[in-house]
Structures are given as structure tokens and as C-alpha cells.
């Protein structure tokens, strides 16, 4: 008996919570177990804008930024699902921003018109811009998305179009912060839902197949160039929306819209949260953005800190926090007895 050795064992909980395919829900307990995390997150999110007096407008506007970055991160995640890794989400963001600015200044459109228009036209425009490089694999797509936003901001600076270095100001505002937040929250939830549906559909399966083995997809009779273009368009939508929305929020648009921040922050969010599930990228944004507000007093050290976090997660925990938490939630650990030392070695 003295030989008994214990070791930790990880066991899956009884039900299939992985919701990818089939649910087998035996009881209310199982049902709540499977849906509680999502419901809780949605309820908290929906209640937050109502607690204005409690949390203060400062943190409410932090939530605006958080959701905007979440949308950019979601966009990144969908692109990556089709094998397109973007190093420049600022491209989509900036195009959306400038479009809405230009539309509302030139045609005196109200935000209700200019935001949807900028979202759609912006997504189309970015798809057209990226179309010639969609055939490239690996880092080449990343390279061009890295260079494009910088190029566009330089072009604006040099040609002095769209307000040049000054940018465009006096963009019509949105009604009030609470309305803004609800619009953003609804868009975020719809986007997560739509993307999850999309990626689990047959079409989503094909998109992911392009990432894993594009030759097999070609041999199955798909025009992968077209598939990738569709993926870029679908992924651009929340990102151009984010740009357009934030432009009306701040009532100005400038070269800052193409800045590296809007590329690095979503990327960090996805890597920290975990790619491939859409929940992960949003979770990442909800960790990173409030965190960076706490770090505000460190001024430019902030950038250093999130770059280092990005680095640490990319190397140390490439699956991201979300996968880690989910595994913990779906499994539990228990001690099991092993008989004697020899068994332990044998294992």
C-alpha cells in the first residue's frame, strides 16, 4: 500500500459542450452549464450602458474603444480563417473613417446614412485594393496589409487631399453615449453570431479549407481567388464600420486612422484571446483595452507593454486565453491513484 502514487488526471465533463455539431442536453443543469457563460456575458454587456452613474462616462467611452477594437479583431479572425493574415487592420479602419468623413462633409449626410454607406463602400473598396494580392500566400499578404495603411496616410499627407495632415473635422455627432453603446453592442453581438454561423456552415468549411490546403479546394472546383475576395469583403464589414463609427464618435477623422495602433491592438487582442473562435478575439480586446487604460499613466510605455504581451502570448501561449479557459471549464482535474512506482514509469 505504501507504493500508492497519485497523479493529476484531467477528465472531460459529462456533456458535450463543444456546440460545434450536436448537442445532447440531458437536463436543465446541463443546459445552463452550456449556455451560462454566453448569457452572462451578454447580460453584463447590455446592462453596462445603463450603469452610467455608477461607472462614469470615462469607462463608458473606454467600452466604445473596446468594442471598436473587438470589431477589428473579429475581422482579423475571419480573414485568418481563410488563411489571410493581416498585419494592417488599420487599412479597413482608415478607409471606413475617411469615407464616412468625406461623405458627410461632401453630401451633408447624417450618420444614419453615412455610416452604413461607408461600411459597405469601404468594404468593397478594400476588397478591390487587395484583390491583386490575394493570390499570394504566407507572409506576402501580411506584408502588403502592413504597407498599405502607411502608404495611404503618406499619400494623404503629401497630396493634401481629404484635409491632409489636418484631417476633416466637424463631422456630425451621434445622439448620445448610451445610444452609441447600444448600437455598438448590437453590432458586436450580431457580428459574432453571424461569423460563428458562417464559419460552421458549409461555406465556412470551404473558407477554412482554403487556409489548410488551397490546392485541394482548387481541385474541388472552386475559384479560390473569388473565395478569398468574398472573405475579405465579409471581414472588412465590421472593420470599416468600426472606423466609420469612431469617426462620428470623435467628430474628426485624420491620418491617425491609418496609424499602427489600429493594426497592433486588434492583432494583440486576437493573439492574447486566442484565434479561431471569434469569442477569443473579443475576449482579448476586453482584456487588452481596459488594461491599456490602466496603463495610461505610463504614457508611451503602454505600447511597449502590449507589444511585449503580444510577444509573450505569441510564443508562450499561442492558443490564447479563451481556449485555455474553455478547456478548464469543460474539464476538471482529479487525483487518481497509481499502483506503485513501476506503473508510473510505464505510463
Amino acid at each position: 500500500m505504501s507504493h500508492l502514487v497519485y497523479r493529476k488526471e484531467r477528465v472531460d465533463r459529462g456533456i458535450k459542450v463543444r456546440s460545434d455539431d450536436i448537442f445532447i442536453l440531458a437536463s436543465l443543469r446541463d443546459l445552463s452549464y452550456a449556455t451560462l457563460p454566453k448569457t452572462l456575458a451578454i447580460v453584463i454587456l447590455l446592462l453596462f450602458p445603463l450603469l452610467k452613474d455608477l461607472v462614469g462616462t470615462y469607462w463608458e467611452s473606454v467600452l466604445v474603444t473596446t468594442i471598436v477594437i473587438s470589431l477589428l479583431a473579429l475581422s482579423w479572425d475571419l480573414l485568418a480563417s481563410a488563411g489571410l493574415v493581416s498585419l494592417g487592420q488599420a487599412l479597413f479602419f482608415g478607409v471606413g473613417s475617411y469615407l464616412t468623413g468625406w461623405l458627410s462633409r461632401t453630401f451633408a449626410l447624417t450618420p444614419i446614412m453615412s455610416i452604413p454607406l461607408a461600411t459597405l463602400v469601404g468594404a468593397l473598396l478594400t476588397t478591390l485594393i487587395l484583390y491583386p494580392v490575394l493570390r499570394l500566400r504566407g507572409i506576402y499578404f501580411g506584408l502588403i496589409t502592413f504597407a498599405l495603411p502607411l502608404l495611404l496616410s503618406r499619400v494623404i499627407e503629401v497630396t493634401k487631399i481629404l484635409g491632409g495632415t489636418e484631417g476633416l473635422n466637424k463631422i456630425p455627432p451621434l445622439p448620445n453615449l448610451t445610444t452609441e453603446l447600444y448600437i455598438l453592442i448590437v453590432v458586436l453581438l450580431v457580428c459574432i453570431y453571424a461569423y460563428r454561423r458562417l464559419i460552421t456552415s458549409d461555406y465556412g468549411l470551404v473558407l477554412q479549407a482554403v487556409r489548410d490546403n488551397d490546392r485541394a479546394v482548387m481541385a474541388a472546383g472552386f475559384d479560390i481567388q473569388r473565395l478569398k475576395a468574398q472573405a475579405v469583403f465579409l471581414a472588412a464589414l465590421p472593420a470599416t464600420f468600426a472606423g466609420a463609427f469612431l469617426t462620428h464618435h470623435f467628430q474628426v477623422v485624420g491620418m491617425q486612422s491609418f496609424a499602427l495602433d489600429y493594426s497592433i491592438l486588434p492583432l494583440t487582442s486576437v493573439i492574447v484571446g486566442g484565434a479561431g473562435t471569434f469569442f477569443g478575439s473579443v475576449l482579448g480586446a476586453f482584456i487588452m483595452i481596459p488594461l491599456s487604460e490602466f496603463l495610461r499613466e505610463f504614457a508611451s510605455l503602454r505600447v511597449v507593454i502590449y507589444s511585449l504581451l503580444l510577444l509573450i502570448f505569441a510564443i508562450g501561449l499561442p492558443e490564447g486565453i479563451f481556449h485555455f479557459i474553455r478547456r478548464r471549464y469543460q474539464q476538471f482535474e482529479r487525483m487518481t491513484a497509481l499502483e506503485g512506482e513501476s506503473d508510473k514509469r510505464g505510463k
Binding site: 456552415s201 458549409d202 470551404v206 479549407a209 472546383g221 472552386f222
Partner: protein, 254 residues
């Protein structure tokens, strides 16, 4: 009319750098016929397949499919016309269940056109196709991850993938490689049935004995050139072919 070739290749040439992987190859193929393409390693068999299916663009020459010039066509358009290929190294989507692997070709434009079907219906079609190539319906195998499949089953999956596109011309790149004798024996009736259904077969093979049971005609490649063409039994007696194959498979299988 019946004799109009389904595939006609005229002077097809492809050079990589200075090296000619296909050198002035010409041949014709009648619908319903089964063609074997053989030759030593590096003789340009795979290049020829890549050229016909559009994965590689030729340097010179033309390819006609059902009378239509398809030289340099995009791979997906070739599939649309009814040319389907298998890959020598079949790389399925390992983390997907076996039947889900077929959802991808089944949702392609060609399959949607001919089979119709909505999301959900395709699962049933996929299982049915798997059954056709020898997966047991009642077993759990079609629902397991494709990564867990043994080699022989991977080849069957590859075959099912091709059949899901309802090809008019099916090009198989070394289907038999890595299969055991009994596995090959169980696949041959399947190929015969595909042929009976009117599908034109093109097979690149090293396993000549088994290949010759299926094909009507063979062409032999060496250093990118066609060195012989004709009935298998006749061709293998030719001196040039013997020379090219000297000391390799032909000795064993003849």
C-alpha cells in the same frame, strides 16, 4: 461521332528553367477509354497531369477537351468542365471528420449544379459516397477525424472526393501507391464500375500488373517525351520501353 476524342493533346511542352518536363507530347483519348500513363521516376508523368488539369501552364502546345481548347485553363474551370484529379499525396483535412471532407467538393459550383442540395442534405450524400468507395455505413469510421484513417482508407477518401464531382474524365495520380495487394484488389472493381458508367479514366501508375487489368491503352514517358503508345501488351514488348524500364518494374511484372 462516338469516335470524337474527349481529350486531344497536341505538341504539349513545358520547360522549367532549361529542363523540359514535357517535351512535345501528343495523343488522343476516346470517351469511355481508360488510359495508363507510365514511365520511370521523373519522366514527367505528374507534370502531364498538372498541365491537363490546369495546375501548371504549358510553355507550348494545346489541350482540347471535348473539342474545346482548354490550354492553360484555371484548375477550377477544368473541374467545372468535368475533369477531376486525385493527388498523389492525398492530404485530407485531418481535423475534420471523414464525411465532412466531402462537404467541400459537394458544395462546389459543379456539384451544386448537378446534385443540387442544401446545407444538411450534403451530409447524407457524403455518407452515401463513402459507402460507394467501401466505407462501412454502420461503422463509426466516417464520423472519425480524417487524420486517424489508415493509408488505404485515405486513398478511398480521395477517390470519393473525386467521385463527388461526377467527373467525365477522372485523372488518378498513383492511386495504388502505398496500398497493399488486397487493398488494390478491392479497389479495382470500383474502378471498373466507374469505367462502365462511362467515365474516361487516366491513371498514372507504377504498379503495372494491376494497372493493365483496367486500362485499354498506355503511353510511356521518358525524360518528358512520349516514347511509346498502344495496347499495354504490345507496348511493353518495344525495345525503347524495355530500355527505359531496364531493371525496374517491367521485369517483375512482365
Amino acid at each position: 461521332m462516338a469516335n470524337e476524342p474527349i481529350l486531344r493533346i497536341v505538341g504539349l511542352t513545358k520547360s522549367f528553367g532549361g529542363e523540359k518536363a514535357a517535351d512535345n507530347i501528343s495523343f488522343e483519348l476516346v470517351p469511355g477509354q481508360a488510359l495508363g500513363i507510365i514511365g520511370p521516376n521523373g519522366s514527367g508523368k505528374s507534370t502531364l497531369i498538372n498541365l491537363i488539369t490546369g495546375f501548371v501552364k504549358p510553355t507550348a502546345g494545346q489541350i482540347f477537351f471535348k473539342g474545346k481548347n482548354i490550354t492553360g485553363i484555371a484548375p477550377h474551370k477544368a473541374v467545372d468542365l468535368g475533369i477531376t484529379r486525385s493527388f498523389q499525396m492525398s492530404r485530407p483535412f485531418y481535423n475534420l471528420p471523414v464525411f465532412k471532407n466531402l462537404i467541400i467538393p459537394l458544395s462546389s459550383p459543379r456539384a451544386r449544379r448537378s446534385r443540387g442540395g442544401k446545407y444538411g442534405d450534403r451530409d447524407e450524400t457524403a455518407i452515401h459516397l463513402l459507402e460507394e468507395v467501401g466505407f462501412e455505413r454502420d461503422s463509426q469510421v466516417p464520423y472519425k477525424d480524417a487524420g486517424a484513417l489508415p493509408h488505404g482508407y485515405l486513398k478511398r477518401l480521395e477517390l470519393a472526393r473525386c467521385l463527388s464531382l461526377e467527373p467525365e474524365m477522372l485523372i488518378l495520380d498513383e492511386l495504388f501507391s502505398g496500398m497493399s495487394m488486397s487493398e488494390i484488389a478491392s479497389v479495382i472493381p470500383l474502378l471498373e464500375k466507374i469505367k462502365e458508367d462511362g467515365c474516361t479514366l487516366v491513371m498514372v501508375e507504377h504498379r503495372l500488373t494491376e494497372l493493365f487489368r483496367i486500362i485499354d491503352k498506355v503511353i510511356v514517358l521518358n525524360f518528358g517525351q512520349k516514347i511509346a503508345e498502344g495496347k499495354p501488351s504490345d507496348v511493353m514488348k518495344q525495345e525503347a520501353v524495355m530500355k527505359a524500364y531496364l531493371g525496374s518494374e517491367v521485369v517483375e511484372s512482365a
